[in-house]
């Protein structure tokens, strides 16, 4: 039984924390938050690339480090803790995972080394409006290798070089690779709840599109990519919710009211204990997801759903109760609570809302029961 990070993985995680402590402080996050023209922290992005994190799980033959997914999870946890304002998830959890899952040898050879080298930002474009995209309402369409349609919202769509786009072709849903610097692509940065993560509306009018994976498999592949991304995102959420608990604890220990530290009041202690319980349940579910992702287990869909539901709930609870514990200070722009409150919503929605994942989880339970 080894249901924890190994010593090497702990070392990697610790190194990641040290790097981010120096290169991704609250000031770095706020630089992106407070500047409407800034979509990400380019210096941090370069630094993360130099650390090799972008290619951590990419095979060595494609220029990566060839580590396992658990190592990537350890890095993700630290990125979440630091609230990193970079397109890491879009590029690594979505684009690179989609390429490794469904890419042809040529596609992998062309794009994965660029990702590993930090030369390329990715995006994953499925949504077209409020609600869930499905076979009945999918509008984006590819004819003769040219994509037409509108994708909104696309995380990091304004800064990405390469997007994976869900679209129909000849009446069959598929995934397509689209180079966003090419002709027929118009991009507009949108205002969102979490300005530390950029989001765009992308309009395609005859943009060159190359199919990724088989025709007709668009939705199945999207689900499979989401399963992978959900596990990795769960670790970002976990890092964020553990940080919220720490912030709440540190503040409560130092804040005095009615003649004593508020950390001694049961109303605060029980709130923090509730945070701890949710975070631990989320961590256990996330670890199972990491294991399933790493070994390619048949349990991945249910493990990913459980990890996503548990981590989304934990981060939401920790981020809102962290604000509450900080009292009036927590409601100010100057104190960092809102960075995590915002990020908790961004992470909970980016790969589909928890409600959708609960439904997917129950479908998996039904399948297991029927088997």
């Amino acid at each position: 039984m080894n249901f924890d990070y190994s010593d090497d993985q702990k070392f990697l995680k610790n190194e990641a924390r040290k790097f981010l402590d120096g290169n991704c402080t609250s000031a770095h996050v706020r630089k992106v938050l407070d500047n409407a023209d800034l979509s990400y922290d380019a210096d941090l992005w370069k630094g993360v690339g130099a650390q090799g994190w972008l290619g951590a799980a990419i095979p060595e033959e494609h220029g990566g480090l060839g580590l396992g997914r658990v190592e990537l999870c350890a890095i993700a946890e630290e990125l979440g803790r630091a609230c990193a304002p970079i397109p890491f998830a879009s590029t690594v959890y979505f684009l690179a995972e989609a390429l490794m899952l469904a890419g042809s040898d040529a596609q992998k050879a062309k794009w994965l080394p660029k990702i590993a080298a930090g030369e390329l930002i990715g995006a994953f474009a499925t949504s077209e409006g409020p609600g869930v995209v499905n076979a009945a309402n999918l509008q984006a369409n590819v004819v003769g290798g040219k994509l037409t349609g509108v994708k909104i919202p696309v995380t990091d769509g304004d800064i990405a070089d390469l997007a994976v786009v869900l679209a129909n072709e000849g009446g069959k849903p598929g995934l397509f690779l689209v180079e966003l610097a090419g002709a027929g692509v118009t991009r507009e940065t949108l205002k969102t709840l979490d300005p530390t993560r950029s989001v765009a509306k992308i309009s395609f009018s005859g943009a060159a599109a190359e199919r990724l994976g088989d025709a007709g498999e668009g939705f199945a592949l999207t689900e499979a990519v989401f399963d992978r991304a959900a596990v990795l995102l769960a670790f970002e959420q976990l890092g964020g919710s553990d940080r919220c608990l720490e912030m709440a604890k540190d503040y409560a220990m130092d804040r005095y009211a009615f003649g004593r530290t508020i950390a001694g009041y049961q109303a605060i202690k029980h709130k923090l204990a509730d945070m701890y319980v949710k975070n631990e349940l989320a961590r256990s579910n996330a670890y199972f997801g990491a294991w399933a992702l790493n070994v390619g287990a048949a349990e991945l869909p249910i493990a990913a759903a459980a990890a996503r539901v548990a981590s989304s709930e934990a981060f939401w609870f920790a981020s809102k109760e962290n604000v509450q514990t900080h009292g009036g200070m927590g409601f100010t722009w100057a104190v960092d609570c809102h960075l995590y409150y915002r990020r908790s919503r961004q992470l909970a929605l980016v790969a589909g809302a928890p409600k959708v994942w609960k439904e997917r989880l129950v479908q998996q339970l039904e399948r297991r029961n029927a088997a």
């Binding site: 039984m1 080894n2 249901f3 924890d4 990070y5 658990v70 608990l245 604890k249 409560a252 220990m253 004593r260 530290t261 950390a263 001694g264 049961q266 605060i268 202690k269 029980h270 923090l272 204990a273 509730d274 701890y276 319980v277 631990e280 349940l281 989320a282 961590r283 256990s284 579910n285 670890y287 199972f288 990491a290 294991w291 790493n294 070994v295 759903a305 459980a306 539901v309 548990a310 709930e313 409600k355 994942w357 609960k358 439904e359 989880l361 129950v362 339970l365 039904e366 029961n369």
Partner: protein, 404 residues
């Protein structure tokens, strides 16, 4: 991350499984048996386990154990849980009481008591809680007064599991009411069959009687039955409570799988109840919590197999499982709609398991540390938050304000 045993652990698991397959008693339908009949089976099984040293495994060989590691103990429990053997009668005695005797009694007393307890011939109970001392157990009032070489005991204990079939117990009493409450306590062992000890079953809100009140009327015991120094009872009690067995496994009632089966076979206004969105969301939440708990135990096992001692973080288990049981049972009854009120086991779905667990769950949220106390433990011992302001630390027990 992997879920495999180390080679040594795998070998031990095979040894355990082989032994269990050869020795575990055949499955018996205990539903129609009386408690004394089930106890007889349990004692026989305990004797078999003791013979093969598959009980008290982490104890030294000289005391009946096999000097096993905690992870080996967990492996045995996991394997035994796959067999339908009688269990539950010896956990408190061997997990908490006898280790206290071993830590504080003289050699003669240990010689007398340890071996019969290990073999299941004598069962022990723990007499701590009182009507006025639950979460605040150090506020107990049962009084022991010195009389020559003897002590004379008067008072009442409550929520004593198994007192009606136990042979001996460890008893925490007040020997000095003139000092602050934690300093005036002393621990003894007692014979539960002695004159002056009266056991009365408690009629629980669930209808059953799993616990007892124990009354002491001029119970006379010799000073040689004392465990630890006079006035050191609280320190001794902490040793008892620290020995609380690491809870591994432990299903307490119907879970997400059972309510899912119920939903599938229940018709609601829009068809099969399993098709209901609100129900499906809850089902997902129950699954995530239950899996989270199961997987958290795997993390505890990892710590054990690395030679670490798991800390108070295991307190999260009961908070989650007890509350989920209550919530899930209620949802199951609502699924049944008007029919949900029926508790007749011949008529109600799943032999009224949900109705029974609804009535049992409130007890589970209280026994062995209330939700609130467990949250205090997490806050103070895991997160390091300060203890509450105490008004009772420096006040003589006799001067403390009392209510009910």
């Amino acid at each position: 991350m992997d879920f495999n045993d180390s080679p040594e652990e795998a070998a031990f698991r095979i040894e355990v499984r082989t032994w269990l397959e050869a020795n575990a008693p055949k499955k018996v339908d205990t539903k129609k048996m009386s408690e004394p009949e089930i106890l007889k089976l349990a004692k026989a099984w305990q004797a078999t386990k003791a013979e093969a040293r598959f009980t008290c495994m982490t104890w030294p060989e000289a005391l009946g154990g096999r000097g096993a590691t905690p992870i080996q103990n967990v492996i045995y429990n996991q394997e035994e849980s796959k067999f339908d053997v009688p269990r539950g009668f010896f956990d408190i005695g061997l997990g908490m009481c006898v280790p206290t005797v071993m830590a504080f009694a003289n050699d003669e007393t240990k010689q007398r008591f340890v071996a019969p307890a290990v073999r299941g011939e004598e069962i022990w109970c723990q007499l701590f809680s009182e009507p006025s001392a639950g979460s605040d157990v150090a506020g107990l009032r049962t009084r022991a007064v010195k009389d020559g070489d003897d002590w004379v005991i008067n008072g009442q204990k409550v929520w004593t599991s198994g007192a009606h079939y136990c042979d001996f117990g460890i008893l925490l009493v007040r020997t000095n009411p003139d000092v602050p409450k934690h300093k005036g306590l002393t621990m003894f062992w007692i014979d539960m069959k002695a004159p002056g000890v009266e056991v009365r079953p408690i009629h629980q809100m669930s209808g059953g009687s799993n616990f007892n009140e124990v009354y002491f009327t001029d119970l006379r015991i010799n000073d040689s039955q004392r465990l630890g120094a006079v006035g050191d009872g609280w320190k001794v009690a902490l040793v008892t409570l620290m020995n609380e067995r690491l809870a591994v496994g432990g299903s307490t009632g119907p879970n997400y799988a059972e309510i899912m089966a119920l939903a599938r076979s229940t018709v609601t206004e829009d068809g099969n109840a399993l098709a209901n969105d609100a129900f499906r969301e809850k089902l997902a939440d129950w699954y995530v919590q239950a899996e989270g708990l199961k997987l958290t135990r795997f993390r505890t096992m990892t710590a054990l197999s690395r030679g670490q001692t798991p800390g108070p973080e295991s307190s999260i288990g009961k908070i989650i499982s007890a509350n989920q049981l209550q919530d899930l049972s209620n949802s199951a009854m609502e699924l049944e709609d008007q029919f949900g009120i029926i508790t007749d086991t011949a008529i109600a779905p799943m032999e009224a398991a949900f109705q029974q667990s609804l009535m049992w769950a409130p007890g589970l949220r209280i026994a062995g540390g209330t939700d609130e106390i467990l949250k205090n433990i997490i806050a103070e011992r895991v997160l390091g938050l300060p203890g509450d302001v105490r008004v009772d630390k420096d006040v003589a027990f006799k001067d403390m304000p009392t209510g009910r």
